[in-house]
Symmetry: C2
Subunit: 453 residues, 2 copies
């Protein structure tokens, strides 16, 4: 008889994990606190679109879904378009020709994954809030959020895929020797909209991620299939300027006029959206261990919630599923060693992408407006193109190199930083950046095996 598996959370990771486990013939049920988002409007507080890239696509491909997702709902973004205060644009390709990250709708992708899970026989139970976890049995105690009715399920294994505010992790937090941290960064975000053009087209370059880098804060915009862009202002809660200091819509509007005039000109609902859309907080969650008694495991945001600046939140969660599935192949249902290897393998990668994502925030909001930084990226890109076996840019290691672990990418990135610090310190580097001298020096500084994927 197939082992019974209960997953808490029918979000992106819970649903994909459901597909994976159902395909391996487990008897899978998913329990979700919210109503079925396919039938109702989602509550606010979560980003509308996401950047799907190679790691996520690999995980989708393993269950035959990558092409479908790319075909049906993705808008490829080939480059960053930086907007300065005067509205002048500069460009930075994400990778090599044809490499792109993909803007996808969170709710659309989630609905597709829930449909897929159900097609594979997964039962999804909605409006079931996890109230308690028994780590011995194991068992999950639920309360129906509408009726208050209580119920208990006793599966063989439990997966907490219930996100950054995971109830399963909350229960683990009360067990001895469970290390845990939730760190809210100084910045929060607010979503705003650039609507489609009258003819349904896009009012800015469609196949790009737009950034208005402004030092300590930034605005970004991702395209949606309906021709609109979802803009997100990442902004401090306190200080000047901040959500606190912009305490009226007039102040916000005049601030946008000064800083983001070209974007504001396209936001027809700015006033209403500024007033009605929430300021949402950004949290980094770390914990360990991720598994308990060989019976319960955390996955996705429940084990490692990160900030969104590398576009890797969903991708890292999908990669968790893929790695878990590879380990299932290796260990079969020897759960204890499987869980142990899973957490030992994935914890350093979760930590690495958490750090990289914070680092990318600084890069996006501050450095993409910096001439030295842009030159450095140009030197790296030029060198990487000529010597791909010696150098893969960090962004590509993270985004386009699913075979390179996040922790490896981070380590390579640190070594690249050391090399580039020496290159950028060369006299007149802005003049001779594409000279043979620079190339020779880089070849000298980079070890034989290279810093590549």
């Amino acid at each position: 008889m197939a082992e019974k598996i209960a997953i808490t959370g029918a979000g992106l990771v819970g649903s994909l994990l459901g597909v994976y486990l159902a395909k391996r013939n487990f008897d899978v049920s998913i329990y979700e606190r919210r109503p079925d988002a396919r039938k109702t409007q989602l509550a606010g507080g979560r980003s509308i679109n996401l950047a799907l890239s190679d790691r996520g696509l690999e995980a989708l491909a393993r269950v035959g879904l990558a092409d479908k997702v790319l075909r049906e709902m993705a808008i490829p973004m080939y480059r960053r378009v930086m907007h300065d205060q005067e509205g002048n644009l500069t460009y930075q390709p994400y990778g090599k020709d044809g490499q792109a990250i993909n803007s996808v709708s969170r709710s659309g992708l989630n609905a597709l994954l829930m449909d897929q899970a159900e097609e594979h026989g997964v039962e999804i139970h909605f409006e079931q809030a996890c109230a308690e976890v028994d780590f011995e049995q194991p068992a999950l105690h639920f309360e129906n959020v509408l009726s208050g009715e209580k119920s208990t399920v006793k599966p063989h294994r439990i997966f907490g895929a219930d996100g950054a505010f995971s109830a399963v992790r909350g229960a683990l937090q009360k067990t001895d020797r469970f290390s845990y941290s939730q760190h809210y960064i100084e910045h929060g975000y607010k979503e705003l909209t650039i609507p489609p053009a009258k003819d349904g087209g896009f009012l800015m370059e469609k196949n790009a991620l737009h950034i208005w880098p402004r030092g300590n804060y930034m605005l970004i915009a991702l395209p949606n299939p309906d021709g609109s862009f979802t803009c997100t202002l990442f902004f401090p809660y306190e200080g000047d300027p901040s959500f606190s200091s912009l305490d009226s819509t007039e102040k916000a509007r005049s601030f946008f006029k000064e800083q983001f005039a070209d974007a504001l000109a396209l936001m027809s609902d700015f006033d209403q959206e500024w007033e009605e859309n929430p300021n949402s907080s950004l949290v980094i969650i770390r914990c360990y261990p991720w598994t308990k008694n060989g019976k319960v495991a955390l996955i996705g945001d429940a084990s490692h919630a990160i900030v969104p600046f590398y576009g890797q939140g969903m991708n890292s969660g999908f990669e968790d599923c893929l790695v878990f599935d590879q380990l299932l192949e290796k260990h079969g249902t020897n759960w204890e060693p499987l869980f142990e290897e899973y957490q030992q393998l994935r914890k350093p990668d979760g930590d690495a992408i958490a750090d990289l994502a914070m680092r990318n925030f600084v890069e996006m909001r501050d450095l993409t407006g910096d001439a030295d930084f842009l030159l450095q990226k140009k030197i790296e890109a030029r060198f990487a193109e000529k010597y791909p076996e010696r150098w893969t840019p960090l962004y590509s290691l993270v985004t386009f190199s699913a075979q390179t672990r996040y922790s490896e990418a981070q380590a390579l990135g640190q070594k690249q930083d050391e090399v580039m610090a020496q290159i950028m310190a060369m006299p007149n580097i802005h003049e001779k950046w594409d000279s043979a001298e620079v190339e020779t020096k880089m070849l000298e500084l980079i070890p034989e095996q290279g810093f590549s994927a």
Copy 2:
């Protein structure tokens, strides 16, 4: 009419805070989850004795209790006595002549403080588990742990003094933008006993803290008034040796015979205690903010639980009370600015002592057996004696200098480290440590204003 104040937790800090606030004529009630420890035996899992030092004594003195505590229940410990594997002893004074830290019984001191609180009109309600906190009203919802009876209190202010596993902080953790971490260190501890001599005297030097430093682990012993010593083994959970590797009493006994022969010879109940006494974990807790809405505040371990290696857990919590009382004097019942200044003032000090306590673990378990380290301490002590206005040793800054904030002590300690690294790097320092050359070099390296309290 006096404002009503509810304190959760009748431990050391909650009880002392009760005394402070009652003396300022607030209407104070304390709610404690456990039964009245004055009437029953305390459950295990908490250390039996504690080191009371100047910061704690200052806080007790402010409400007239320092002399009473010193007189009735304290055993001064003037120095560290280090035991090597052969049982050879070396010595290190804690401070100047007459300076001591004081071994006091946790339960005795707690009982005294509860008595004092009640004498000042504080009502202590036992067996009341805090189930929920309303941060708006504010209100506390309790459940009687015996009867299950539920009750609600609606005080004007709430203080969470309910320790490392604070229920009030647990409720705060669920509010937006509350940063929190609980970090369990690799080591845990187990308590063992060296009983009194037949004549009721002490089997080792009474007025000392005994240490068996062994690199990655250590045993310590503090004297009790009945002639016994409470010994604590600080030991890794995993690895070799560890609580895991010593998986039988025989193995533990033979390990002690090898490592702590002189102590083992005095432990008449070793086998039984090894089997029955728990392995307890050690957690470091950090969070922020410590206050909410000008209505609720955390204090003591609830806001900053630390490891015990500097003997500052209780002392820092008592100092919280003292600082809070000074701010009450300054702000009156202007609670919002009072709470704001309290948390801004105490958070860096809580962080500093958390770091210092981990650092002192390394020092105690490892360096007190190291000739270079002991020499360095001797050089510092000699210099500090001659030039007290230029140098106060870090240990004294933390332990005997209540007027120096923990964060200042930490900053001074870092500067001292830099100086001492240069001194210890002088050729032949072991021969000429007490020479004029070394003294001159130190005078050169230390700025005019000195590194002193």
